[in-house]
Structures are given as C-alpha cells and as structure tokens.
Symmetry: C2
Subunit: 280 residues, 2 copies
Amino acid sequence: MPGDDRCIAVFDSGIGGLTVVRELQRRLPNEEIVYFGDTARVPYGIKSGETVTRFAKENCDFLLRFDPKLIVVACNTASAAALPALEDSLPVPVCGVVEPGAKAAVLQAQGHTIAVIATEGTINSDAYRRAMKRFDKDVRVVQKPCPLFVPLAEEGRRCDDPITRAVARDYLDPIVRLDPRVLVLGCTHYPLLRQAIAEVTGDAITLLDSGEQTAKAVVHRLKQSDSLSARDNSGRLHCYVSDNPQRFRELGQRFLEQPVVDVTWISPEQFFAHDPKVVV
Amino acid sequence: MPGDDRCIAVFDSGIGGLTVVRELQRRLPNEEIVYFGDTARVPYGIKSGETVTRFAKENCDFLLRFDPKLIVVACNTASAAALPALEDSLPVPVCGVVEPGAKAAVLQAQGHTIAVIATEGTINSDAYRRAMKRFDKDVRVVQKPCPLFVPLAEEGRRCDDPITRAVARDYLDPIVRLDPRVLVLGCTHYPLLRQAIAEVTGDAITLLDSGEQTAKAVVHRLKQSDSLSARDNSGRLHCYVSDNPQRFRELGQRFLEQPVVDVTWISPEQFFAHDPKVVV
C-alpha cells in the first residue's frame, strides 16, 4: 500500500472543531493534522450564509498552502452554509459535518422523529433537514437553536453546574415532549455538555455527535481511496488561529482532551497573502 | 449660534451600541447619527487587544466617509483596547465609553469600592481600573467578566426569566459580598438586563450605565465646542452593518427601544474600498 502522507486539513470558526480532531486522532493516530480556527471572526452561528461562505472559502485558501489530501469543515454552520460552494471550487475533497450526522441519524431513528440542536445559522439554513430528506424523504425533523450552549462550554461550566442544567432543561424539555428517537448534537461545542443534555433527554433518546460521525466518514473515505498515511509514528497536530492563541491554548485542552501545544497566530497579512510561501 | 450640522458617528462590534444611541437621541433629538455595527466580526469581547484595535481603526476609516463631527466608540471592549490609538490617528474627536463611566463611578462611590462587570476583553485590559485611578489614585476596584449576559440579552430573555435570574445571581452574589457602592455596567448589552442585575445587587449599590454617561459626555463636549446641530427638526439614524441586516433590525428594537428602520448592509468590498464615494 503506497498511502498518502499529506496532512488532513481541518477548519472551524474557532475552538469547537477540536472535538472533531479528537475523534479523528482516536481513529487515525498516525495522520498529520493541520487545523485552522478563525478566532478573529468567531462565532459563525449568528452570521449570514453569504458571509459564512466567504469566510469558509478564505479559510480553505489558507489551508491549501499546506497541500492537504482532504479538507474537513469541522464547523456545522460553515458545513450548512458553504459545503456545495466549497465542493465546486476546491481542488481537493471536502468533508462537512452535516451529511455524516444526518445520515447516521436517519439510520438510527428508523422512521421515528429526529431532533437537531445547533446554532441559529445552522437551524435557519435547514441543512440538516435537507440532508436527512435525501436519505429518507418522509423523515420528521424538529430543530432548535441553543445559543447559550456555546458560551456555557467556553466559560468552562461543567455538566453538573446548576446553570448548565437549567439551560439544558429549558431548551430540551419541549423537544423531549415531541418524543424523538435521536437527538443530533449539531454544533461542535455541544459534546462538552453531553452529560447535561443526556440528563434531560434520558435513555430513550440516542445522542448523536456529528463530529464523531464525520471522523468515521473521513476514515472510510481515506480507506476507499487508499489514501491513509503509511507512516507508523504518531502524526502531529499543528494549529493556526487568526487571533488570541493564548485563549485557544487555554480553552482547547477541554475540547481536545489533551494539551494543545502547537498553536501559531496568523496575522491578516499572512492570512490574506497571495504568496503561499508566507506560511508553512 | 452657527452650530455644526454634521453627523455624530457611532460604532460598535454589533448591536449593543444602540443602547448608547438611545441615550444620545434622548438628549440630542436633532442630531443626525450614523451607526456602524460590525456584525460580520462580532463579538469583540473574546478577541485580543491587537485585533480589536485593527477592527476599530477600520470601522473609523469607514465612518470618516460620512464626514462626522465626532466619533463615539460605543463598544466597551473597543474603547478599552483602542481609544489611545484612535485618538492619535483620527482627524476628528473620539469619545469612548470607558472614561465617562469610570469618572462617574469614582464620583458616586465617594471612596468606597467600585465593581465593574464587562466582557473578558474589557476586564483583561484593566482599562476601567486604570481610568478610575486617574480620578482617584487610591480607588478600590473589583472586576468580573460576565460572558453569558450578551447571549442572554441577544436571545431576548427577559429580566424575570429564571435562567437570567440564576445567571445574574451566579455572577453577582460574590461581588455583592465585597460591598461595593457602585456597579458599572461595562458592556452595552447589560442595560437590557438591568432589572435582573438590580434584583441581586439591591438598593445599596448604584448601577451605572457607561453608555448613559457617555451620552452626557458627548452633549457636554459638543456644547463646549459650540458644535450642536442648529437644525430644529428630528435628526435621523442611519445604520450600516457588515452582516445580517435582518437580524440587526429584529434584535435592534429592544436595544434602541423603537423600531430600527434604516439598516444597510455594507459588503467587504464597500467596507474596505479606498474610494470614499463607494458609500454615502
């Protein structure tokens, strides 16, 4: 097997995509990963589809300088808004988080109602429902934005914090009453609040992390195209951010579940440079 | 009195600065106001001082096209990070929200402890404490970031909402125990949560809205320089945003306390254009 030792590139609006990286690293420990967090323009969830698409294209232009074999759009909002545009314009394969999450949800729901929680932007785009309809045209989907979950996770509130629990009940009680079989965590921050969410939804509702499903899809795709790395040593994770590397390092550990060591700030001049040699 | 009919320009990271505009309009109903909300890059409160300063300069470059007589930095984070840089580089007077809030707090505290609540960025900059020390070198200041207050206000949670009340208690109970005489609302979103905050702080602590103090400072400054408008009809409010005008209109009403009618989206090409005729 020749393999492909080029990196996997991942971008997110900020720090949340590290939960997707964590799932990738569990499955593909030898792969080199280059991550870009757009911390100067985070969050994407309250922004328009047009603006998020522009940001996503710029992020991919930046990541192409690292000659990746695949780009993972780890941000649900960017996947929802920009994936078709990225697939059309990029010279490498692109994998978003919405489609893998939607597919797994349809399979597990077996005809029962599916609930999706995500940012305002992801919900307004209706991308999850549209993706689910491609797998089951009669699917019943209920969707709800949960804007407080991201700042709760970033503030470091634990799942047993009274505020976290109260917010989870407030958002999810009305969803539970609709009796879904599956609840999709449609934002990369939400896995950090998984226990608080599960406490409200109970055992009868399966929680499904789109990031985890995406990692599985990436493994499948690389295997199919014979593009897994042939290296037998551990792949490294290189993080680049458009702002505040210190905050990224501090908060990142909870998302990656290990220290985030290699974080480099990219200035606007570097980010928007047309000369690819400016970085790398 | 000749007067000066040029507009007052105001910018904020997003929508919160409309609470400052509201206070300006109450006192100066005849003034024309041009507002820029940087909704494509909002929020500023979790970003570095360097990045916020760059954004603030770009916002002012945009506003200068409207030939303002004064620029109000309605964003606490931007005032904290960028005011000296803006004062050095701009050809018109600039008024931030930190200094007026700090000055009023020192006057009202009469030597007692002052508490400041604001975004992470404003607190980390220590700008309020530094400004207060210029008015009283022995001032005692306690500061606390309250990151959930902005999304609570934007989500439209009322002050009697159980989540709002629980978060207010969680943030403010430890502050109340330090027995401050004055609590500065150091973020333009916080006046929307004023009642919930007051419920925790009680009658012995004076709540001080930096935006309101800034409006007073602007009136004083324009009077002193004989630059109030000589018009006797109502001044209009023109809003420009870098993203999502619809969301700005919808949420804006609660911040301005009246409908936000005139909102124009500015594309990146318009925003960064060097030709000032591109807008206006």
